[in-house]
């Protein structure tokens, strides 16, 4: 065991964990919103699809930057680990890239080609919801057990990967959570926009997908116990946090049930915040238990770490960069997320 002293390695892996978390939440909302916009495409009288599109149009590019930021952060701070990850993730990584490409392109095209809008939205909605499922597969891969050595070369065994219940539990969790997070966010978004019918639809979707996502989370824990016991044991060290996380889930449910003014049920803004805290806690426990390994039991944050002088330069660039960008993010948020602008009809 080792303690949590704030070394450069810990600082680096925390930054990466932060990017993973931001992308997981933003990506879930992004891919989920695309899926909902497809599901409700035939309800001509309601504005449910439009609400999803209005969120999606200005945000998907910004969301996409975070996955690039994440990959860059990994190879800048843990180049040795990036070497191993790049080698074993060639096939799943390439598939993810192709799916992201088709999804983003068709999402954009659907706004410009009125005649084929329906087809284009179907393609982007379906490819989009597969992406979180594939992306999360990186987690079980990093837990070890799926890499085999052939002729002195390490490679990923797709056979082992796709026969593992743990992998399927992760995939199901990613897809359902995307739907849960996005419906919750869109419920809040439609309430802000004053669209009560859309609010009703998304609130209902959140109430349905929420419990399923919790069941999937339990399935992950159950399968972890047998398949990657080392991380299960370390996660149980933080059992109180896991319980708090589950409590946050129940609180979210309650927040959607109680009266929220204007004769509506639910306070979706608070529910979104509490749910993000729920994922933050669970994500922290998982990430903390994963340390010191980046890939079990091959690369640790120490073996994979970059040159110290490179790390310092990179870290300073992070601080300066985000300080400069902050006003830009604020301006963006004010334009697209704040009440007044959301309420404007397109």
């Amino acid at each position: 065991m080792y303690g949590l002293s704030l070394t450069d390695e810990i600082l680096g892996i925390t930054l990466i964990w932060g990017f993973v978390f931001i992308y997981a939440v933003m990506g879930a909302m992004d891919f989920g919103a695309g899926f909902w916009s497809m599901i409700y495409i035939n309800r001509d009288k309601t504005n449910v699809t439009n609400i999803a599109n209005r969120y999606l149009s200005p945000t998907w590019e910004v969301t996409n930057v975070f996955i690039v930021a994440l990959v860059v952060a990994i190879y800048s701070m843990f180049p040795r680990a990036a070497y191993s990850l790049g080698t074993i993730l060639l096939i799943p990584g390439s598939l993810i890239l192709l799916l992201i490409t088709i999804r983003s392109a068709f999402l954009v095209f659907s706004h410009a080609a009125e005649k084929y809008k329906r087809l284009l939205i179907y393609v982007s909605g379906i490819t989009g919801i597969l992406i979180p499922g594939l992306l999360i597969a990186v987690l079980p891969i990093s837990q070890g057990g799926y890499v085999i050595e052939q002729n002195g070369r390490e490679s990923l065994s797709l056979g082992l990967l796709f026969t593992s219940p743990n992998v399927y539990a992760f995939i199901a969790f990613a897809i359902i959570s995307s739907l849960f997070l996005s419906s919750l966010l869109l419920a809040d978004y439609s309430k802000t926009a004053g669209d009560l019918r859309a609010y009703g639809v998304y609130r209902r979707d959140a109430l349905i997908t929420g419990p399923i996502s919790l069941i999937c989370a339990f399935l992950i824990m159950v399968t972890l116990k047998t398949e990657a016991n080392w991380i299960y044991i370390k996660m149980m060290d933080n059992l109180p946090l896991l319980i708090t996380s589950a409590a946050c889930f129940i609180l979210t449910g309650a927040l959607l049930m109680i009266p929220g003014g204007k004769g509506l049920k639910g306070i979706p803004r608070l529910a979104v915040i509490v749910t993000i805290i729920q994922f933050l806690l669970a994500g922290f426990v998982y990430g903390r238990a994963h340390l010191p390994y980046i890939i079990y039991d091959n690369e640790t944050i120490r073996t994979g770490f970059t040159d110290p002088s490179s790390f310092r330069a990179v870290f300073i660039v992070y601080v300066v960069g985000f300080a400069i960008l902050f006003p830009g993010f604020y301006f963006f948020w004010r334009l697209f997320m704040r009440d007044r602008s959301v309420r404007q009809t397109d």
């Binding site: 590019e61 990036a82 890239l97 490409t101 490179s310 660039v317 960008l325």
Partner: protein, 456 residues
């Protein structure tokens, strides 16, 4: 051994295909917002509504192209790690800064493009112009930073290799490697130049299809004059920066210059060889035109400059010799662009003609696809000319490639997706502008798709 070679070739082909596809959209991603910015500025200055319409219509093009530019850039960035893990391990240790900073450039571009496109009617003219400046700046900065990684590959700096280990890392020395400014300058200038000639080419094409004197003809003539003046000036500066790039090759990567020029024997008073094909067996360039002494002069500003030939280097270090053709093609198109711009500006601006002869319009039209072709030639020359190295004289391409085998099927998948996107993106633009012809906007009719496409 045979398997190893073909594995490397497939990996190179795969990454090369991604880059060849992405570079079109990346270049237009700089050139088009730059031209939109110029149109908005012209509108601000002249109050002529046509320039505003120009900006709006090109913003829609930009919006559609973005759907390919962003994901193909994501592929390029991520597949560096997937296909070349050996290379990226060194880059991660030594040259991570450009990638890091590029993220912020990317953020600036994405944030302000969304603001410009989706909040067009909600923000002031000043805020629109600032947004466009930031979009162009972000795109240019991305290009500068990523080109800097390429510059580093040619002139590595900021570290030493001792017994196979990387020591004495100085990330900022790596960042400001010798080729940084020259490479970044040439890449930026030619991207702006491409933007200008894509505008000019489109205008030429549209003028061919409209009768002189019509409203559309006049509209496109304005765009043509604007882009030819700009394109002419930028291509002249690009030519100078290209010359500087060649002189830097003379100093830092002599075998690349020798291959690009098809020069075998080291000599002073070296001739400049134009055209033809390089024959390594006979050690000559077949069917070429030679300009005596010119290469020596271009390389070192003196006729007695000694230019090193290919024979000075081990054969294994020779880059593929077809880069001679890439070099000629790139320079040739650059010259063509300058000529076309001079003729056009003379005709439209000095002679004040309102009708342009068809052959001239056709020449303008050609400048658009040709300028993109020149970008392709330039990058093939730059990257293939560095072979067999990923980091010049330090890391070979063979040592950089992934150990994973069977890339063939993946490569096929990527080709199919690029083909699909290439066809669909053209179809989408075609259908969009067919439904929303210029004439509707010129006569102030409302745009039927405006409610669906939230650009304006």
């Amino acid at each position: 051994m045979v398997i190893e070679v073909s594995h490397l070739v497939i990996a190179r082909a795969m990454f090369g295909t991604t880059m060849a596809f992405h570079i079109i959209f990346a270049t237009l991603g700089i050139g088009i917002p730059f031209m939109i910015l110029i149109s908005e500025l012209m509108f601000l200055k002249t109050k002529d509504q046509d320039y505003s319409i120009m900006a709006k219509r090109w913003t829609r093009v930009k919006g559609v192209l973005l759907g390919v530019a962003i994901p193909s850039g994501t592929i390029a960035g991520v597949s560096l790690s997937l296909l070349w893990p050996g290379f990226m391990e060194v880059i991660g240790r030594v040259m991570a800064l450009p990638f890091q900073i590029e993220i912020y450039a990317f953020f600036i571009e994405a944030l302000f493009l969304s603001i410009y496109v989706y909040a067009y009617d909600r923000i002031s003219t000043k805020a629109r112009i600032i947004s466009l400046i930031l979009v162009t700046f972000g795109a240019l900065a991305s290009a500068v930073l990523i080109s800097n990684v390429h510059a580093f590959e040619g002139t590595p700096a900021g570290f030493r290799v001792v017994n196979g280990k990387i020591v004495d890392v100085n990330p900022w020395a790596a960042f400001f490697n010798p080729a940084f400014f020259i490479t970044a300058g040439h890449v930026s200038l030619t991207a702006l130049m491409t933007g200008s000639f894509v505008f000019a080419g489109t205008s030429g094409f549209k003028m061919l299809r409209n009768s002189p004197g019509s409203r559309s003809y006049q509209f496109h003539a304005k765009a043509l004059v604007m882009s030819l003046i700009l394109g002419g000036v930028i291509s002249l500066i690009s030519a100078l920066s290209g010359h500087a790039s060649a002189q830097y090759l003379y100093e830092y990567q002599p075998e690349k210059l020798a291959a690009a020029e098809g020069l075998f024997e080291t000599q002073s008073h070296a001739p400049l060889t134009i055209g033809g094909s390089v024959d390594p067996e006979k050690q000559e360039v077949k069917h070429a035109i030679e300009i005596p002494w010119a290469l020596s002069f271009l390389a070192g500003n003196r006729f007695d400059t000694v230019v090193r030939g290919l024979n000075e280097f081990p054969r294994d270090y020779w880059p593929p010799l077809f880069i001679h053709t890439m070099f000629n093609g790139m320079v040739g198109i650059g010259m063509y662009s300058i000529l076309v711009a001079i003729i056009g500006v003379y005709w439209l601006k000095f002679k004040k003609k309102t009708v342009v002869p068809k052959w001239m319009l056709f020449a303008f039209f050609l400048s658009a696809p040709l300028s993109i072709l020149a970008i392709e030639f330039g990058w093939i020359l730059a990257c293939t000319g560095r072979q067999p190295w990923t980091i010049y004289h330090i890391l070979s391409t063979a040592d950089s490639v992934t150990s994973q085998q069977n890339l063939g099927i993946l490569y096929l998948l990527f080709i199919l997706v690029y083909l699909l996107l290439g066809i669909v993106v053209i179809a989408v633009l075609y259908f969009y502008f067919k439904r929303n012809p210029l004439i509707h906007e010129l006569s102030g009719q409302t745009d039927p798709d405006d409610k669906n496409y939230p650009a304006h």
